[in-house]
Symmetry: C2
């Protein structure tokens, strides 16, 4: 087995991407990870294409200083708007969360749904990536701007969240039985989403991305040798509730946070 102890560089607009780190650490526990959350400028979901692309390139350049073997854009909005630019600029491979999510969705039976931020939905990135794999597939999207706030508030399994989910999901036709969680915040809301639309199969883009990363490491890049990998968390701003909220997404305590300039 090839070994390569260089870290995985993970980038998100904020701390939602810690759900992807959680999936990575469960599937690939030995990997060292450097996580960069642009908490000073979060959210990206309401910003324009050019701004998101510029921020993504800045984040990639900063992570490059940590000598990563692979970059992961653990943010749907930044993947939708910044992936091609970062792939062109980066000396190491870059994986976004959209392609793996679209791959899983393209194999589902029948019509599929995609939920995400306004920017992700308006980019049409999931739709394009699903249709490239399954031409003619019916794809229905719904922007759900309030879900990020509900996840950060910790109202995870909560009648208000169920009601908000129900309203957003109502725009998806009844025949949609598979829905991509096209925002890294959403996995923690799964209990409420399930109550709002029982019997749906939810595709967690973090989970499928972790599997893609695992395949890449196995095929060419190499795994980290042994033991439990180290997790470094860099943030562009350390607000007051980040530790509490971030821990909820990571599903382990957030120990050391470093504040960096971007």
């Amino acid at each position: 087995m090839i070994t390569d102890n260089r870290p995985l560089g993970v980038f998100d607009s904020g701390i939602g991407g810690l759900t992807v780190v959680h999936a990575l650490r469960r599937l690939l526990p030995g990997e060292n990870i450097v996580y960069l959350g642009d908490t000073a400028r979060v959210p990206y979901g309401t910003k324009s294409h050019g701004t998101i692309e510029r921020y993504t390139l800045q984040a990639g350049a900063l992570l490059q200083r940590y000598d990563p073997k692979l970059l992961i854009i653990a943010c749907n909005t930044a993947s939708a708007h910044g992936l091609p630019a970062l792939q062109a600029a980066s000396p190491v491979p870059v994986v976004g969360v959209i392609e793996p999510g679209a791959e899983a969705a393209s194999k589902a039976d029948g019509a599929v749904g995609v939920i995400g931020t306004i920017a992700t939905v308006q980019s049409g990135a999931y739709e394009a990536a699903i249709l490239a794999r399954a031409p003619g597939k019916a794809v229905h999207s719904a922007a759900c701007p309030l879900l990020v706030g509900l996840a950060e508030e910790g109202w995870l399994d909560d009648p208000i969240t169920v009601e908000v989910c129900r309203r957003y999901l109502a725009v998806l036709p009844e025949e949609v039985r598979t829905v991509v969680l096209g925002c890294t915040h959403y996995p923690v809301l799964k209990a409420s989403l399930e109550q709002a639309r029982p019997g749906t199969r939810w595709i967690d883009s973090g989970e499928v991305t972790a599997r893609t990363v695992g395949s890449l490491l196995g095929a060419s890049l190499g795994f980290h040798g042994e033991g439990r990998g180290r997790l470094r968390i860099l943030l562009t701003d350390a607000g007051s509730r980040l530790q509490e909220v971030g821990g909820r997404f990571l599903e382990e305590p957030l120990e050391s946070l470093e504040v960096v300039d971007l």
Copy 2:
């Protein structure tokens, strides 16, 4: 009457400050206004003190180019964290939204409440400003992070919003009959707030700030001469729904938007 045709410079982290512009234009229709919304970096409510202070100084420097007679920080978070620094740096007077709101609250009967973002509530700025005017007054605060999202979503008079307000307002003791809307987004939610806590007197910090500005102009700075003042709107990023959402806060159509770098 002194006249001074220089504009009022109004700054907000986003577009919520347009409720303050609305109040200014109703009370002082002749004034020219240059509004700067830092939509690329909104929201400030989850950011740290140093970051908010730095952003506020940058905004003040940009507005200075338009030769204003007065600067208004139409953002509670930026007022709580950036007002002293901007007052020290600015060659023209600077008014925040907290002092006028606190002044009105200090004159209310009995205990008062303050609702706002996490950063505003944690700053303790309202409490300090109210206690400076009414020593010993009981002041109770509640952070309401989801209300900005609900206002931007346009769920203004809505059962979900009523339920969210009810949950947030439940932390205020029953004897509180006066509540300061310590976030410029909140005035548009008044119908839901009223259903959540009937019989409450709501102090709209934008409205009382407009009155403070009117007094300052009358006492020394001078009003604009005649006619309907011009409104220029500068934003650091023009996302897709800004025109729709901003128009709701301004209560008039958002005509020309200019994108500027900050």
